[in-house]
Subunit: 486 residues, 2 copies
Amino acid sequence: MTATDSIPDTTGAELDAALQRANRAAEEMCAQPPAGRARQLRAAADALDAAAAELVDLARAESNLSEARLTGELARTTFQLRLFAETADSGEFLHVVLDRADPDFPLGPKPDLRRMLLPLGPVLVFAASNFPFAFSVAGGDTAAALAAGCPVLVKAHPGHPALSQRTAEIVGEALRSAGAPEGAFDVVFGFETGSNALQDPRIRAAAFTGSVPAGRALHDIAAARPDPIPFFGELGSLNPVFVTPGAVRARGADIASGYVNSYCGNAGQLCTKPGLLFLPAGHGLGEALVGHARDAAAHPMLNERLHEGFEQRRREATEVPGVQVLVDGDAAGPSPTLLAASVDTLLEHREALLAEAFGPLSIVVEYDSPQEANRVAEAFAGNLTATVHAEDDEAGLVGGLVRRLRERAGRVLFNGWPTGVAVSPAMQHGGPYPATTDARFTSVGTASIERFLRPVTYQNAPAGVLPEPLRDDNPWNIPQTVHQPG
Amino acid sequence: MTATDSIPDTTGAELDAALQRANRAAEEMCAQPPAGRARQLRAAADALDAAAAELVDLARAESNLSEARLTGELARTTFQLRLFAETADSGEFLHVVLDRADPDFPLGPKPDLRRMLLPLGPVLVFAASNFPFAFSVAGGDTAAALAAGCPVLVKAHPGHPALSQRTAEIVGEALRSAGAPEGAFDVVFGFETGSNALQDPRIRAAAFTGSVPAGRALHDIAAARPDPIPFFGELGSLNPVFVTPGAVRARGADIASGYVNSYCGNAGQLCTKPGLLFLPAGHGLGEALVGHARDAAAHPMLNERLHEGFEQRRREATEVPGVQVLVDGDAAGPSPTLLAASVDTLLEHREALLAEAFGPLSIVVEYDSPQEANRVAEAFAGNLTATVHAEDDEAGLVGGLVRRLRERAGRVLFNGWPTGVAVSPAMQHGGPYPATTDARFTSVGTASIERFLRPVTYQNAPAGVLPEPLRDDNPWNIPQTVHQPG
């Protein structure tokens, strides 16, 4: 038996057939107007909504997550599919630029140049364990790639195989019924299957959400191909939170409870979980923090493998000399663990303390001065988020800190908590390595479609061979930026 | 002595100091308003123009290129610096998106999100041999990175060390005089120096123009770093040209002379040199092609290493069984070589015939039918360009061919020649591997600035900590896309 107990691994022959179908689908998908893609994405959303009860039941059985959480996550997933339908529909993502011929160009006559973005081709999506809907079979990567016009092959996560299979059936049927070609969407199972697919020349890009070691291994496979392909891995993040003296005075109690909620929610299994809280010396929040962490309910983790990994990380961090255990979580639950460390201890034991612990554990650190906060901020590698709690009149105090944090994170947020990622055009869910393998892109929000496109320019093309978005009569009604000579 | 005879390799200590300066300059450059960057780029262009006579003399002595060619290339280089000044000035490249808070967002209250692009940090530019100005010390990669706000460290090409040194002095002085911080720009020498710099954590991205083996080796170094960085290599391209029967009838004589001019110009040392010409059977252009190729002047190559490499490639291609030598170039000159091969020979000997020969050599291939043209188009890996010569009433005939070519090239051009790349907003100079290592970006044209930026999002930030481009009062007057709720 494989990890996906109920569902056998995809065989080599099945994978080859799926890749062949995806490869054949690519040209037809590229030629479909954005409105067609939008219709297909909406059909998938509608079908998933209609099957919500069945899907949430399957997810509960395979994930230990609550009905409320899963129902909300499915709503987010179908919202996301519809948002990408809008994105596709608008055609803006094609970034059409028409640059008219200019016989008087300073460097000599300039030809007529017309540029647009094309889908990369079949995309391999590695589903995540912690969001069985939103970062899985029909999640953000799938929605973005389909909106871009790329066939999608999902490598299912072994944590929820039955849900993956059923989701794939529903989505596949909905896409087909709305006009998607055969091969536009498929799901495969098995560790080897994923690795083999990533090396196949028919796969033109890949997206992954998961751990640093797994993501790095896949990144290296993609980069070592005879033809390297774009690989978008969202790996690990510590998501540090810095609190100023003013913020402690104004709303210390709220900060203590908000922090514990944020790091303990979903058993700490969120990529934006705050792993470190930096408080000014003399903050006086110790008792409140301990109280909230003790009160927070134990919550079973997604699966046994994650639970074991968390226990190991918890032991490593707890055993660092100088680390104080404020709340010693029950390993079996697991219930939340809260640690404390000095700045010096943190910086001396980076490997154990400045590494993600995927589960309900976080570390409180006292700092003495803004200079010390700045110094510790410089110790961080890449993060998805960094948070600052400060009062409005402290902008001068935190200016240097914010500059340091934005060098190391994709999103800097204020007076809130990093968990909960809005799906919006201005969202950035990505950051310098190891938060992601390519900080130039986001994996949440409509800008994530940019991962799956590449530009092509037509020069002096006769009208008859131009694709619709580049034609003067603009039959798809795509926004066109036009540069006239002079 | 090293390959850069006149100039010693940069020492490890010198490199470290240069990287330190670049690293320190990064924050100040990021904070400078676009107008400041634009002023610096214009100052560099003015200073290079003022030193044109001296620089062209240095370039002639080191490159075997003609005064006219070099004068034109320097003009293109300073034009390019000024174009990037305009690009910086407009601020559009920051892609500012303001997404207002929405308490009634369907998935729960949405925070205020503000997204912009930030410079990646110090960029390492590997200069090319074949364009001592336009793809070298002050070339397109340097201009784009500076416009993006990144410090630039150029690894000089050993083919023109004195020119590189002098160009760097002039550019560095001009940038400083216009307000660029120390460390904004520097040049280093030596093969090991380049490789060491690429592995240094202070380098945040790299750009390269050169051969497939060298580019792939550097790509692999960048990908294998503890923190992988973006690497933009522009490597090799065959630039196939397909001619229809209608085009032969209408203007066969022009096509024959245009092709020979394009592949022999600059001794064939252009990345967009047409390496293959596909003609319909019975084209009758053989005599004209041979005549033009025999008449084309011999032209010394840029340096002895390239000359030797070309001779080897020429022998490999010439010795393939079935290849016919139409014009046997003089090896010493070298004067142009013209070969002919059947489609079958081409497809049987891909390694020898479907590989770039950097120098004055090209291959003429007859095809029997549109189907055969399509079949051979599918044999190509990634290219910078693909060209079609066809009459307007042949759009139906070439539709399938154009679709196949655009899957394999960044620019598809019609009824012209691929050499000569316009610097324009709609240009795409990049293509699937091995044409480039990242087909999502261009290395020519204003869109090439996108290579050196990454997004960051501020969430619910107090006005006092927002960078200028994200502020409501928009002090830099940057274009802002604003999304209102609802």
